[in-house]
């Protein structure tokens, strides 16, 4: 189900009591204004309501301009909402007390040029009201964790983007916050780096920390997050576990069927016409398949087919002695759900 402005926005089930919530956002709206005389208003958040449970890894998804960063800024107190309420760790969002317990990694983090990795860590630690001895206790562990050990004395202006991102993560974790708000944490990282970040997030989760992350990389979110929320055009369009989100989309339940069969398209067409939209493409069998390379191999994609249809199709193909090399029934991915939601939002419709 996707929320529309008229409908009550979706909320995570069973969490409305407020107990065990790390973030609680209710009916939040924020509009940016521009111009002194002819003021233009750009709504960035519209009646957003969501809850993040303590100890979970929560992913916020949405295309550019969906209002994700605006929501984070409201949670950090950088922006004042026009309407609605937000609390973080049961404290008003943006309050000093709340900020003490938040570790934040902004998108495109820029460190002052005069810092080394170590001095930057100390600077942000001091800003988080830590004493130098407290920072000293944590620094080695953190540099090791983010794989910057041995590089901490180099000037940050010589760091690669990935190194800066890892240093940013280190400073966010430095004061052992209860809540980590990470804006595109894997941005600029190589696959190795991403894997490391995932490990770090896993560790944080095991230690009971709440992670609120905002990412474009859906596969990653799928791997890391317990629950996700999808935003588009300032509205919350979906929230829940990934399974829940997929389940919410009925038309996605049947999914695709992909087959690789030894027959040409003309021979297959009469069997496939019963199952609606399909696509055939000729492919070459891989040498390790142990098949005669001269055989005609066709990939068939059927967009929507139920299990009865699949059974019937197999029966009929086998009756005609058509050999099936491979068959795959794919579940709709988060990406598909995301695309579906976002395209529906951009068309202004409700699915």
């Amino acid at each position: 189900m996707i929320a529309s402005p008229e409908q009550k926005p979706p909320v995570a089930r069973g969490t409305l009591s407020g107990d065990g919530l790390a973030i609680n956002v209710e009916q939040l709206s924020k509009t940016y204004s521009e111009g002194l005389v002819f003021r233009k208003n750009h709504p960035a958040l519209r009646n957003v309501t969501l809850q993040v449970r303590a100890g979970e890894v929560f992913g916020l998804l949405g295309p550019n301009g969906a209002g994700k960063t605006t929501l984070i800024k409201v949670l950090l107190g950088i922006l004042h909402p026009n309407r609605g309420q937000a609390s973080v760790l049961k404290m008003p969002a943006g309050s000093k007390a709340a900020r003490r317990k938040i570790g934040y990694l902004p998108e495109n983090l820029v460190f002052p040029r005069h810092h080394t990795g170590r001095s930057a860590l100390y600077f942000y630690g001091r800003l988080s009201e830590m004493s130098d001895s407290e920072i000293a206790k944590r620094e080695n562990e953190l540099f090791e964790l983010v794989d910057l050990k041995g590089r901490q004395h180099e000037a940050v202006r010589r760091y690669s983007k990935g190194m800066r991102q890892r240093l940013g993560l280190a400073q966010a974790m430095l004061h052992d916050p209860d809540l980590l708000i990470l804006d595109e944490p894997t941005d600029g990282l190589d696959p190795m780096g991403r894997s490391q970040i995932r490990d770090v997030l896993d560790q944080l989760k095991k230690r009971g920390k709440t992670v609120f992350l905002n990412s474009h990389i859906l596969q990653e979110v799928e791997l890391i997050c317990d629950r996700v929320a999808i935003m588009a055009k300032g509205e919350l369009r979906g929230i829940g576990t990934i399974d829940e989100l997929i389940a919410q989309h009925a038309d996605q339940r049947r999914g695709y069927l992909r087959m690789e069969v030894f027959a040409n398209e003309a021979r297959l067409r009469p069997f496939l016409e019963h199952y609606g939209e399909f696509q055939c493409s000729r492919i070459t069998a891989s040498p390790d398949a142990g098949l005669d390379s001269a055989s005609e191999l066709t990939r068939v994609d059927i967009r929507s087919i139920d299990q009865t249809g699949v059974d019937q199709l197999i029966d009929r193909l086998r009756q005609e002695k058509i050999s099936i090399l491979r068959m795959e029934r794919s579940r709709p991915s988060l990406e598909q759900v995301f695309m579906n939601i976002v395209s529906a939002a951009s068309q202004g419709g409700i699915s």
């Binding site: 950088i78 004042h80 934040y104 983090l109 002052p112 600077f123 942000y124």
Partner: protein
């Protein structure tokens, strides 16, 4: 650690890691290194310097006379030792009046100092009686230095009033021990006030106040905009630190950078002044916080611009514009004030009948014109000169005054002050014997520029002319001269006109009769005052009060009193009821009983100010005007024992520029530049006011420029605080001339610029905080 301290500490780290800082520090080090060998060295010298020659005209006249075989033996002896070309020049001067420059005279006299056989017992018969010379005469093997000293003493004896006696000490400016200037005939102690009050503030102001400030503004301009980079700011704002505190900490952090530069340079200058110039003035160190404060004014503007536009270039441009506007407004205001409030300020009042005649700072003599309700200038728009007088003599119907070149600290050009005489038309009829001439004035106004005659030159170094019996007296350092009207008119008649030029024929009848003894010398600072009956007079000279008694046409010495304060202290004096009121600059005025010649009272109510004018009336009162514009009346109390002080609360009080009593004992005083008040004789009310209408430039100044200046911030006013910090109470600038006290004395108020600019900084920072609060980041 508190987050805001972390921001400050980070700014410090940022400063010391900045290459620009190290480049600047290296530059300052180079400048200080180059300055360090520059020093002042003191030494013994008896050479004649230009400023030693008090009256070159007199010296040259006497030497020229010697060239004709006349004059004293000592003058002839000196003439004989002069270089030949100079002897020829003297003869030419005598013959054709060809001018000889002072520098040439000085170098010729210095040649005389090298002569081994200048001394002649007959020429200097009194030399042997002097202790110092006696030793030198006895010494047959004089070293070159001793010879120089010996000959210089002989020169001093020959020209006692025209040549200042050498103190034997001189100061040179040296660089790495090399002397490369002519010696200054003053000691290092005397030069110190000029360095402290003039040189150091100027160097600091130009170096730090302008050059370093510009560099600092450019360098720090990027600090606030850098903070507003999205990736940096949001992280800072996510920390438990309010955005206002973040902004203020960042602002103060910017000041740390500049503080390090300022501290380095100022401490360097402090050490330089102490080690090389022997001036350990802790005021220099006070300049560190003052210059930081000065920078904070500009940086508050730069920081606000950085918040609004987030662009370092705009920060620099806006700050430069702010600086430009402040500077221009201050400059225009100071300039207009200097023109509108300086020169027209009434500095002298002389009352003729019921009419005030004033002399202003510009050197103009002015009369009150009832018709136009304004002061009317008479006798030429002569600018830039100092008025001596005026004095009106009913006997001749003439108004006498002199105009002298302005002479700061008494260092004056040697052009003689010419006496000007003006017949006052409206008063002349009754007094002037020549009625035909008088009738020609009918219908003329006082200020009509007619009948302005030049009288005989006033005696050399005339500082003031004051009424004296039926004439006037010229006060000079060589004594008091009475103007002889008869002799002067004879002198007028001895003029002949040749080709349209007035040629003066030398005559024996001198118009100025010396009243004090011929050998008397009253060195500066000096002042003269007489009792109303002219039977008693006092002269203050170099920390000493000399009582003079009138004896026929002469004034004879009748007792002396030396004061405790330094001899270079200037003092104003007045005589009233057998007592002298002495007002030394920077000290409490004193009452000296002229019978016992003892200080009998200190007028503590007046305080340690500087008294600019003092006047005595015929009722036993003395009016004292301090440079801050307050008028005090000093009179004996009912028991006729102590002197009491009152401060009349009448219009013009607190802003007075000059004062004078008239024949009816009313007190005339000028205030508010050109206004004159007449305070009644019992000082209970103001009888009449002369308030000239404002001219258009004055109105523009009063209603536009001044109000704008008042509301605008005044960063440059910090200079006043810096001057105050550097002012050493122990080394006051000596006043050597009573004209010096006519210079408007600006009382340095160190706190006013601090308060006004602190308010400005607070407003700028509050605006920044407010902007930051309401801004979506």
């Amino acid at each position: 650690m508190k987050p805001y301290i972390a921001v400050l500490y980070d700014s410090f780290l940022e400063s010391i890691s900045s290459r620009v800082l190290w480049i600047l520090l290296a530059a300052w080090l180079l400048i200080l290194g180059a300055l360090f060998p520059l020093s002042i060295s003191e030494g013994e010298t008896y050479l004649v310097s230009t400023s030693d020659v008090e009256s070159p005209r007199v010296v040259m006249d006497q030497l020229a006379l010697a060239s004709t075989g006349k004059g004293t033996r000592s003058q002839r002896a000196i003439y004989a030792k002069l270089p030949e070309d100079f002897q020829q020049a003297l003869k030419d001067r005598q013959k054709n009046g060809r001018r000889i420059f002072v520098g040439r005279l000085v170098s010729a006299l210095n040649k005389v100092l090298e002569a081994t056989d200048l001394y002649d017992k007959q020429a200097w018969p009194t030399a042997e009686r002097r202790e110092e010379l006696k030793e030198l005469i006895a010494n047959d093997n004089k070293s070159p230095d001793e010879l120089q000293r010996f000959n210089r003493r002989l020169l001093d004896l020959t020209f006692p009033s025209a040549l200042n006696s050498s103190v034997g000490q001189a100061t040179w400016i040296t660089y790495a021990g090399m002397k490369f200037t002519e010696p200054f005939p003053i000691t290092a102690r005397q030069i110190r006030p000029f360095i402290e009050a003039g040189l150091i503030p100027t160097v600091l102001w130009l170096g730090l106040g302008i050059v370093a400030m510009m560099v600092a503004i450019v360098i720090t301009s990027s600090m606030i905009p850098d903070m507003f980079q999205t990736g940096s700011l949001h992280l800072l704002l996510s920390k438990p630190l309010s955005r206002n505190l973040l902004y203020l900490s960042k602002y103060l952090g910017g000041c740390i950078f500049v503080s390090m530069n300022i501290a380095f340079l100022v401490i360097g200058l402090y050490l330089y002044c102490g080690i090389q110039l022997k001036i350990w003035n802790s005021g220099i160190l006070w300049c560190i916080p003052l210059f930081i404060f000065y920078f904070m004014i500009f940086y508050s503007v730069s920081a606000l611009s950085g918040l609004v536009w987030k662009n370092p270039i705009i920060c620099v441009v806006v700050t430069a514009l702010f600086w430009g506007v402040c500077f221009t407004l201050g400059f225009v205001r100071d300039l207009t004030q200097a023109f509108l409030q300086g020169p027209p300020t009434v500095q002298h009042i002389h009352v003729v009948g019921d009419m005030p005649i004033v002399g202003n700072q510009q050197g103009r003599i002015q009369f009150w014109n009832e018709e136009t309700n304004a002061w009317q200038t008479g006798y030429g728009d002569v600018d830039g000169q100092r008025v001596v007088g005026p004095v009106y003599l009913p006997k001749t119907g003439n108004l006498y005054f002199g105009r002298a070149g302005f002479a700061p600290f008494g260092i004056r050009g040697n052009n003689a002050t010419r006496l000007e005489m003006a017949r006052l038309p409206e008063l002349s009829d009754a007094n002037v014997a020549d009625s035909d001439e008088a009738s020609s004035f009918s219908g003329k106004k006082w200020w009509d520029d007619i009948r302005l005659d030049s009288g005989p030159d006033l005696p050399a170094n005339t500082t003031e002319i004051i009424p004296w019996q039926d004439s006037f007296a010229a006060v000079t350092t060589e004594g008091i001269y009475r103007f002889d009207v008869e002799a002067a008119s004879n002198s007028e008649k001895s003029k002949v006109s040749l080709f349209g030029f007035d040629m003066k024929i030398p005559q024996a009848d001198e118009p100025y009769k010396r009243m004090t003894s011929a050998d008397a010398e009253y060195r500066r600072p000096m002042a003269f005052a007489s009792a109303n009956d002219y039977q008693l007079a006092v002269i203050y000279t170099r920390g000493k009060l000399v009582k003079l008694k009138a004896d026929g046409g002469r004034l004879t010495n009748d007792g002396e009193l030396s004061f405790d304060f330094p001899p270079e202290t200037f003092a104003s004096i007045a005589v009233q009821e057998g007592a002298a009121i002495v007002c030394p600059k920077g000290h409490t005025p004193l009452v000296v009983d002229l019978t016992s010649m003892k200080v009998v009272q200190e007028l503590e109510a007046i305080g340690e100010g500087t008294v600019k004018r003092i006047a005595a009336d015929h009722r036993g009162r003395v009016a004292i005007l301090s440079t801050n514009g307050n008028v005090w009346i000093v009179s004996r109390d009912a028991e006729q024992t102590d002197w009491s002080v009152t401060k009349p609360n009448l219009p013009g009080q607190g802003d007075a520029a000059t004062l004078a009593f008239d024949a009816k004992d009313r007190l005339w005083m000028s205030h508010a530049v050109k206004s004159v008040e007449i305070w009644s004789s019992d000082l209970s009310a103001s009888e009449k006011s002369y308030r000239p209408r404002s001219t258009t430039p004055e109105q523009i100044f009063s209603y536009i420029i001044n109000p704008l200046y008042m509301i605008f911030p005044k960063p440059s006013a910090i200079n006043q605080t810096i001057q105050y910090a550097l002012k050493n109470p122990e080394s006051k600038l000596p006043a050597m001339n009573n004209a010096d006290l006519d210079i408007p004395q600006i009382e340095l108020d160190p706190w006013q610029p601090i308060w006004s600019n602190a308010i400005f900084i607070a407003v700028m920072l509050s605006l920044g905080c407010w902007h930051l609060y309401r801004q979506d980041l």
